[in-house]
């Protein structure tokens, strides 16, 4: 608001500005018209790669599993050690997945909806299990709960066994899988902002009501997506679990560990039969994931519809 050398100054700063026609800048769309041979090459290469490295091995698992017929397959997965492994895997997932779902909800809610000291630290630490090798994760628990470990002797004196016991397997699995739910929820929650929650609070809703009626419907597919991924990893985790398990048959073997033991004993068909259970899980996970993915996209788009032209 300073009039230099007596220039006119009006409330409308664009008076007498040269006009720029909208067509003058940009507006030229880029068309991708590579020769057909290039397109066919790129698509063909990707498809062939997928076929060789993913589809064929996965199919071979089932082929090998059923090589000796259905009865051998059933026998392999119903022998007591195999059933114990299935039970332990289900128990582990049954405890780990709900815990990590709760943690993921709380962490992503905190990160996306509040601002607080140490938020960036929390955001970084959540990714830790992704960056650390699972073997190291397992060894950390050995260090903590082993006989030479910090807590090991104290716990051992009280007859609490973590290492070489289901508790250790559950803890190690929990560590390895805790980012999955939070990682899926954080971007969705951040994109959606806090406007709806604020509106609910001003209208008199409490924390639970706000979460159940406003936040949850907006994130439910992302949550399912995260839970599915978390579950798949919890059931399939090998490295960390292998370190803390002790491989006690019928007691501390999960499905992946049991499959490895059978493999090491050259019981190929039984190994693949057990492995096929995990392969089944992978296929089911993939189907649900695909479906949830589409819905998550909608959840991310909801905000966009809402503010068409805004922000």
């Amino acid at each position: 608001m300073i009039a230099n050398a007596g220039n006119p100054l009006t409330g409308d700063p664009v008076v007498f500005m040269p006009e720029i026609s909208p067509g003058a800048i940009g507006g030229r769309g880029v068309k991708l018209t590579e020769p057909w041979i290039v397109r066919a090459g790129v698509i063909g290469f990707s498809a062939a790669f997928m076929l060789v490295f993913v589809c064929v091995p996965l199919t071979l698992v089932f082929v090998k599993a059923f090589e000796k017929g259905a009865s051998a397959y059933v026998a392999a997965i119903t022998e007591p050690d195999a059933l114990a492994a299935v039970r332990l895997t289900l128990l582990t997932a049954g405890i780990v997945v709900p815990c990590n779902t709760l943690f993921g909800l709380a962490a992503s809610w905190a990160i996306a909806k509040f601002s607080f000291r140490g938020k960036s630290v929390l955001t970084t630490v959540i990714d830790l299990p992704f960056t650390v090798s699972p073997v190291i994760a397992g060894m950390v628990f050995v260090l903590l709960f082993g006989i030479q470990g910090w807590l090991g002797t104290w716990l051992d004196a009280r007859n609490v066994h973590i290492l070489f016991a289901p508790a250790g397997i559950i803890l190690a699995t929990m560590f390895v899988t805790f980012p999955f739910v939070a990682r899926e929820l954080i971007p969705v929650m951040q994109k959606q902002g806090t406007d709806e929650e604020q509106a609910a609070v001003v209208l008199g809703a409490g924390l639970w009501r706000t979460f159940a009626d406003v936040t949850f419907p907006n994130i439910k597919w992302a949550l399912l997506y995260g839970v599915i991924l978390c579950n798949a990893r919890a059931m399939g985790e090998f490295g960390a679990v292998s370190v803390v398990s002790g491989h006690i048959r019928g007691a501390t073997n999960t499905i992946p560990l049991h499959a490895e033991i059978l493999y090491n004993e050259y019981r190929m068909n039984a190994a693949f039969a057990v492995a096929s259970l995990l392969a089944f899980l992978a296929v089911i996970t993939l189907v649900i994931k695909k479906f949830a993915e589409v819905k998550v996209k909608d959840e991310l788009a909801v905000r966009g519809n809402h503010t068409a032209g805004g922000r």
């Binding site: 008076v15 509106a199 001003v202 209208l203 809703a205 068409a308 805004g310």
Partner: protein, 346 residues
């Protein structure tokens, strides 16, 4: 319900967003909080709603100090700039939300929702989702949702900011009608002076976290108390004139009659393009000028006038005003300033 704000302050990282603001709004008033972006008006509104904690000062609603209370307990209606409708609920469910939370009986909720749908003229859309209705309709749903629990105060944060010009104009009129029907104490934040001047009974002009002036739209427009208000409200010419003799400030050939400013002082003088008269013939007190540029702006013409040696001013004249050669460039006219506001340079 009246609103009273006493020396309210809030800072973000040491920059004060709201800086010791006090004002009072009587029950049933319709008041605009007007200011440029970053002036602290939204922060002030959010503090009244309880969405933002103040660093200092008090907020009283209906005489009761609510400063420490959560938004839930304040019984205010709040309308967000980007609607903030619950995207997974229908129009009717959105409106009913505040009533459901308060455990109002089901048939009463149904009755109230129908009543509000009529009030906001959205009958027939009750089963649509927010993504299936237009921006203007969404904002009306947001207003209905805020009004449903019969709040004592309605707060609107840039309610029409995200809408296009025609819809804004319709909604402005509609808000005025709505206020006449409901008589709920209303405070709305806007950066759009036309919106404030057209709707509000009273305007609080905010700048840099402080209230620069409060008054009726007419007072604010005709009698700006500070250079900021003079510059912010309406279009303005701003020039620097010198007090060269008692009671007269000069800027080139223009002379302004001023009082109470000692000789030798520099003044900032504001005058509106509407207050610059232009005529084809000479007259008493008129100054010779030439037209540099003419621009058509619908009901009026905008003239850029040169008053000799690089001094330019802008005038808005009716499009049928008699101009030499129809307002062609370089034609000579005679101009006078009908009204102006002068402030000493600080």
């Amino acid at each position: 319900m009246s609103i009273e704000v006493v020396r309210l302050s809030r800072r973000f990282d040491r920059t004060p967003a709201v800086d010791g603001v006090s004002f009072r709004i009587a029950t049933g008033e319709l008041v605009a909080l007007l200011g440029p972006s970053g002036s602290g008006k939204s922060t002030l509104l959010r503090m009244i709603a309880g969405l933002e904690p103040p660093d200092a000062g008090d907020i009283r609603l209906a005489g009761k100090n609510v400063t420490g209370e959560s938004p839930r307990e304040r019984n205010v209606g709040f309308v967000f700039q980007h609607y903030a409708l619950f995207s997974h609920q229908t129009v009717a469910e959105n409106i009913a939300f505040g009533l459901n939370v308060r455990k109002v009986p089901k048939d009463e909720i149904r009755r109230r929702v129908t009543e509000l749908l009529n009030l906001v003229q959205l009958k027939g859309l009750e089963n649509r989702y927010p993504s299936q209705i237009s921006g203007g309709q969404r904002q009306r749903v947001a207003v209905a949702r805020a009004l449903a629990p019969r709040p004592g105060v309605l707060l609107l944060d840039e309610p029409f900011g995200a809408l296009d010009a025609k819809v804004r104009e319709d909604l402005r009129r509609w808000i005025l009608e709505l206020h006449e029907l409901t008589r709920v104490t209303t405070l709305f934040v806007t950066h759009d002076q036309h919106e404030a001047l057209e709707i509000a009974h009273r305007i609080l002009v905010m700048n840099r976290g402080r209230i620069e002036q409060e008054g009726t739209p007419r007072e604010i427009f005709d009698d700006p108390a500070t250079p900021f208000v003079a510059g912010f409200i309406g279009e303005n010419n701003l020039i620097r004139a010198d007090v060269t003799e008692p009671h007269v400030a000069r800027w080139g050939p223009l002379r302004f009659a001023v009082n109470g400013h000692p000789t030798g002082r520099a003044l900032r003088v504001y005058f509106r393009p509407n207050d610059v008269s232009v005529s084809a013939s000479e007259g008493a007190g008129l100054v010779r000028a030439s037209i540099v540029k003419t621009r058509f702006r619908g009901p009026s013409l905008e003239l850029l006038l040169r008053l000799g040696e690089d001094r330019h001013i802008v005038s808005h004249v009716p499009r049928d005003v008699a101009l030499p050669e129809g307002g062609a460039n370089e034609s000579v006219v005679y101009v006078g300033i009908r009204a102006f506001h002068a402030y000493e340079e600080s």
